[in-house]
Structures are given as structure tokens and as C-alpha cells.
Symmetry: C2
Subunit: 426 residues, 2 copies
């Protein structure tokens, strides 16, 4: 039962615009692994939250947090071994060209810093982004995030392009020609910038295209796009806030799905399993060039507690084989969704890598008309059945399934069975 | 001894531009109350760090952190009692007109959000700031921070004014006429904006003027400045990242030193005693107007762990009487500094409220020539004597003494005695 008194206090304190999930909001009091427990003791399977990456309240992460918080918590203007240990371990997960790190606290801060570095190092201001993306909540980052309305709108030096989605390609384009065809939009964006006296500083994309609805992006599109941007003097910034840390199942980073290494990588959400930890990994020449122009210091970024937590998260991912689990269970769950699709016409497409997958809901498999309203009904019905999922995409009609990484085949079975019942009852 | 091998690894990982304190960097391994312990077991009195506000590794704060991190850590899109409890307690410390809160993770994020709210609600873009301030590290906030060089420079819609410093007033102006005289600069900034088609959205100041060198600002200056900005349609944003949470000793907030209530208040550093917790307190009409234009959501901001930590910090401040302590010990230490000034001509001025005070070092009390180099020598010599302080101000010649709040008279005596010896040995 929704706690109406608490809801009223919340409105008085946070206002009514502060987003709240579900028609009947949930109030959790405990989390463990892939499970969340509400105030009435009811258990929910968490198939949505990616921040508790290695599982809610993972004991090894909590232990590292408590141990370091009780010992020392300072900042990076003193020498400290924890940040070196963590930073070295973190950069070892990347291409050797990406050997430097700046730590900060949120994905917004990491994208802010990446843009500052790119613009400073290129001497250019233009940024090319996908036309339905979200990268954070500062002014500059809001100006490159068009998935949600904001008062700043798209920045004057920002150009948006549509990323190809093989399920919804423009007329006359097929999967084989899509990479080439959509890369032309990148070329056009660069030309339009030039016509306005703007040079591109960067192409910045979420390499899993989360807000865009997890489209299947044709091979070679990103390589072609990056090549065009680089030829015009710009850099490639991979936003790994969503796909990073093994979620795709086949690599630690979403960018590894494509055959091109970024110049700058930004990280956030899963990095500290809920502790505010984020960062930017960058080529040393770029960091040094930026460092000549200004001093970047982040009060909390890279403090010993954050680094101890970050180390524990990396260690758990390895020890528990969570990347491999994301691959195995992700494939298993997608197979299950495809089986459901045999009996439920509303499922138009099943996609997404590892443990970040989606099912696009349509009213008609021929016209592919988005089943937006039905998707909302499904999300709320799943909540009533004790399963937390959400939705994404331009038409808000893609089931967004992105559980903590220890998600098991049993968990997938529970989800699939509840979804089957929910679709049956639609 | 500086750990040279670790320093090299640090350079390889963080670059050489990442700031590091002292000629011989310090490596701490443990903190407790006002004390830090280095890798050789040497104890240092921390008279610099304001982030560990209630003391390094305060047991009640660590306990709250561990308890909540082991129970539940989600986000504000679920109903949660901890954020309501914390938020209500936090806003109760403000003027009743400031009844709404947005929580985020860093001072940068809180200033970003405050500017977005101010610009959206006024429909104006201009910002007036002090000419030697630091408010954070995002692009927009860098554009209002002129204390350190940055590639963005001062924003085109930003105007900088000099805040009156009674120790260094412009020729022909005395303390009695300073408020009126310097307020004219605000009027001129507004006129200059108007001449360029810009309207003021806000005046934004650190109410303790930390980077400016902790100047004694004449009574009524800020009231006059705010009145001018408000008359032109702008808002007053008080940046409480430095002065907030009782540090001034006479109130919870720095703005209370002046007779004018802000429209928006931003908080950071001390709020979570090292945990990345920050926030914006705002008038409800402003929050609602902003909420009509966009959704502000911060992944980590206001999560149950951050709020449990924030609650513990507020509780410790009250239970241990830390605001009162800041007043008593601050006055005691300033008296001690003034006694030192009787014997050491280099001390030109002693100032600053509560437990954030400074001594301006000069080569000549008549000309007031800044003793910049000597101040650097003093800071490093104090470090060798086991005391951590820093320096601030335009000429980097103001001793910056800003200890954790449980700083005692004994601690002050130790600091004063070491400073006496250091000045003697200059």
C-alpha cells in the first residue's frame, strides 16, 4: 500500500516534478543481491537497477566501504596508494592507449569533463550526438541530451543525428546499406557545422544507445561515423555509464562491440555499486594538453573510500565471473523472450546485449505501430507481480530489462513466466 | 619521506597537472578527529580540511554509512523515508521561505543546478560573481570561477565585481563608505549587461569569500548588492559549500552574517563528512517553475545511504555543540593570532569568522606588500612541524586555517605555538 502520508511529505519537500516510478509508488526498505523488499515485507525481483551492479548491498563492497570510511577519507592532493591501485587496475581494463584517469562522482561530471577536455584539446566547440540520448543533468550536458525536454534545448554548437536501428530503418534502406546511409548524416552534420563556422570537437555516444531503445546498430556504422569526425579534427567520446563494467557480456565496455577505440571514455552508475563514483579514462596526450590550460580537481573524486569501493566492485566482477554470467544469462533470457514472442504478437523485436536487453512492443507486426500504452500497463502489472522492469525508446514501448549482474537463469525464468502471464492478461 | 615510487606511478596515472599539496607531498594512512597519521606513523594536526567537518572518520557517521549501505541503497524514484527525514531536518535549518531541496553529489552539481534554476525561472542569462572566486569544475561553473585559470575564461554573460575587503579598499574609500561605493560596481555590471542585451539571472557568491582571502566585507554591502540585482529581475544564490553547516560559529549558514535571505542556497563539501553529498535549497515557487520545464533527476543524489550520512552529520553538529565550539575556539584562536601579531610584523591582518580564519601576511605593514613567498615557506614549515594549513587570496598570502569542527583550544594552542616558532625562524 502506498504510504500516502510519506508521499505528501515528499511533495512538500521535493516538489511534484521529482520523478517517482509506477502508478502506485514502491517503498523499499531492504536490498540483497537481485532482490528488493518493500515496507510490507513483499519481495521484488530487481530486473531494472544497474547501479547496484554486483548486487544490492554486496557484502564485499560494503565491507570495503566501511573499512576505508573508518580508517581514512581525504582527497587526491595527498599521496595515496588506494587511488593508484584502483586507477591502475581500472585502466588495465582498457586499450593501452587509454592510460590516464580522472575520477569524479557522477556520470554528469564525467561527461562534463570529457567535453571540456575535447573542446580544449581540439580548439573546437561542436559536438555530435544521437538525437534521443541522455548524458546527464548539467547545463552543457543537458544541451547534448535530447531524450527529455529541458529549458536549454539543444546547444547551438550541437548537432543531433539518428542512429540506425535495424528494426526501424528509413524507407529504402536495409541492414546491409544502413551503416553507409546513416553515416552520411554524420557527414551532413559536419558540413552544417562548417557552414556555421563550427568545427567538431567530438562525437559523443552511449555505446549501448540506452535511451534510443537499445537499437541493433549495424556493424561498421560507428567506425564510419568516428572516421568522419576524426577526419574533421574531432574526438570520439564513448559514454560507458550504461554499458560499462561487463554488462554487455562480451567485453568490459560497450565500445568493444564496434571496431574502434575511443579517445575518451566516461563512466558512472555501476562503478561504485551505488557509491557516487565516476570517472574519465583518456589518452595521456589529451590529459596533458588539458592540464596545461587548467587544474582539474574534484573534492570527493578519487578519495580513498571511493577507490576502495571501486576496487571491490572490480574484484567482485572478476571473482564471481559476472561478465560471463551477463553473457550466458542474457542469451538465455533473450531466447526465452523470443519463445514468448511465438505466442504473443505484441513482442515485435527482442534485442540488446548481455544483461541489458529489451523487447519492443508493437500493436501490429506489419506496421510496427508502437504499443506505448500497453507497455505502460505491462510495467505496472509486472510490478504487481513482484518484478521491477522499466521501458525506454522514443515511443516508450521497449521493455527495459537491466538487472544487477548476478541475475541467474532462475531469475530469468521467474521474469519470463510473469511476463507470459502479464501478456496473457492484457 | 616522500614515497618516490608511488609518486611516479601517480604521475603515470593521473598526470602531473593533478594538484598535490606541499613541496614534499604527504601520504596519510589514518585519520581520527582532528588528526591525520602519515605512513611513517607521524601525527599531523589537521587545521585545513573542512570536508571531514565533524572530524575524520567520526564513528557515528561511519556507523550510519555502514548500517544503511548494508541495508538498502537505491534512488529517489522510489519512496523512501530517509530522504524525507533528512530533507525536512535540513530545510528546518533555513529561513522558512527556503523549504524545498534537491540533493546531488558535489558542490559543482549544486551550483550547476542553482544556475539552471535561476536562468530558467528568470528567463535571463546574466550572472554576477566576485572576481576571485571558485565555484566548481563544470564548464558553466568554470565560467563563473575566475580564481584559477581555465580554458573557458569568464562567460560572455558573466560579469565580475570586486568584493570590498576592508584591509585593502580602493584609494579614497573607507570602511564606512565601502558598502555604498562597491555596490556601485554591481549597478555598473547590470548596466553593462543591459548595454549588451543581457539581463541578470543571479548574483552568486560564496558567503565567506574563501578564495578572495576571507575579506572582512562591510556591513550592508551584500544587502545593497542583492537589492540591485533583485530590482533588475535577478535572484540571490548563496554558495554555502565553504561556510555552511555552522562553520562561521554564529549561524548555520554564512549568509546569516548579512541581513538578506537568499532565493537559492547551494551546499557541498562538509555536508556528508567526506561522503559525496551536496544539495540545493530553494524557494518552492522556483522549484515548481523549473519543474515545469524539465525533470531533474540525480542517480546518486538523495539515495538512502547519502541521506543517512547527512542525518548523522546534522545530529553530531547538534549533539556535540560544534557550531558553538566553532565560535568559542575561533575567537580564542584569533585572539592568539593577534597576540602573535604583536611580535611578528609579518602578520598584517587577522580575520575570518568561527573556524575559518586567516592571517594576511605582509612584508610591510604600511605598504601592505603581500608576503607571498614567505607564506609558502610558512605553510611548508608548518607541515614539517606537524600542522596542516594552507593559504588563499589573490596574492596567495593569507594563511587559510579551516580545521574540522571539533578543533579545541588545546589544538589552537599547538597551532599558535608552532606558528610562533615558524615565524621566529623565518
Amino acid at each position: 500500500m502506498t504510504n500516502q502520508a510519506l508521499l505528501e511529505r515528499r511533495y512538500n519537500l521535493l516538489g511534484k516534478a521529482s520523478p517517482l516510478f509506477y502508478e502506485r509508488p514502491l517503498q523499499f526498505v531492504r536490498g540483497e543481491g537481485v532482490w528488493l523488499y518493500d515496507i510490507d515485507g513483499k519481495r521484488y525481483l530487481d530486473a531494472y537497477n544497474n547501479v547496484p551492479h554486483v548486487g544490492h548491498c554486496h557484502p564485499q563492497v560494503v565491507e570495503a566501504l566501511c573499512r576505508q570510511a573508518g580508517t581514512l577519507n581525504t582527497h587526491t592532493r595527498y599521496l595515496d596508494e588506494t587511488i593508484i591501485e584502483y586507477g591502475e587496475k581500472l585502466v588495465s581494463k582498457f586499450d593501452p592507449s587509454l592510460s590516464r584517469v580522472h575520477l569524479c562522482c557522477t556520470g554528469t561530471e564525467s561527461n562534463e569533463l570529457a567535453l571540456r577536455i575535447a573542446r580544449t584539446c581540439t580548439g573546437a566547440s561542436g559536438v555530435i550526438v544521437s538525437d534521443f540520448a541522455y548524458h546527464g543533468n548539467s547545463k552543457t550536458v543537458a544541451e547534448i541530451s535530447s531524450a527529455f525536454p529541458n529549458p536549454e534545448g539543444v546547444g547551438t554548437d550541437v548537432r543531433v543525428v539518428t542512429v540506425p536501428d535495424v528494426y526501424r530503418l528509413r524507407p529504402g534502406i536495409d541492414a546491409a546499406s544502413a551503416a553507409e546511409a546513416y553515416a552520411k548524416d554524420i557527414a551532413a552534420a559536419i558540413e552544417d557545422m562548417a557552414a556555421n563556422g563550427i568545427k567538431p570537437a567530438a562525437l559523443l555516444v552511449d555505446t549501448i544507445f540506452s535511451c534510443e531503445g537499445l537499437p541493433t546498430v549495424p556493424a561498421e556504422y560507428l567506425e564510419k561515423a568516428v572516421a568522419l569526425v576524426r577526419a574533421a579534427g574531432g574526438l570520439y567520446i564513448a559514454d560507458e555509464v550504461q554499458p560499462g563494467f561487463g554488462r554487455t557480456g562480451t567485453g568490459m565496455w560497450g565500445y568493444e562491440q564496434y571496431d574502434v577505440v575511443p579517445d575518451i571514455v566516461t563512466m558512472g552508475k555501476p562503478m561504485g555499486n551505488g557509491h557516487p563514483l565516476a570517472g574519465v579514462v583518456v589518452r595521456p596526450d589529451l590529459m596533458d594538453a588539458f592540464g596545461k590550460e587548467t587544474t582539474y580537481f574534484n573534492t570527493f573524486g578519487g578519495n580513498p573510500v571511493s577507490c576502495a569501493v571501486g576496487l571491490a566492485v572490480l574484484d567482485v566482477i572478476e571473482r564471481e565471473g559476472l561478465m560471463e554470467n551477463a553473457n550466458t544469462v542474457g542469451n538465455y533470457a533473450r531466447d526465452g523472450l523470443r519463445k514468448l514472442a511465438e505466442r504473443h504478437d505484441i513482442i515485435g523485436d527482442v534485442r540488446g546485449p548481455g544483461l541489458f536487453f529489451g523487447a519492443e512492443m508493437v500493436r501490429d507486426r506489419q506496421t510496427r505501430e508502437p504499443a506505448t500504452e500497453e507497455t505502460g500497463t505491462i510495467i505496472n502489472a509486472m510490478r504487481e507481480r513482484g518484478i521491477i522492469i522499466s521501458r525506454t525508446g522514443r515511443a516508450d514501448n521497449v521493455l527495459k530489462i537491466r538487472p544487477p549482474m548476478p541475475f541467474s537463469k532462475d531469475n530469468a525464468d521467474f521474469l519470463l513466466s510473469a511476463l507470459d502471464d502479464t501478456l496473457q492478461a492484457l
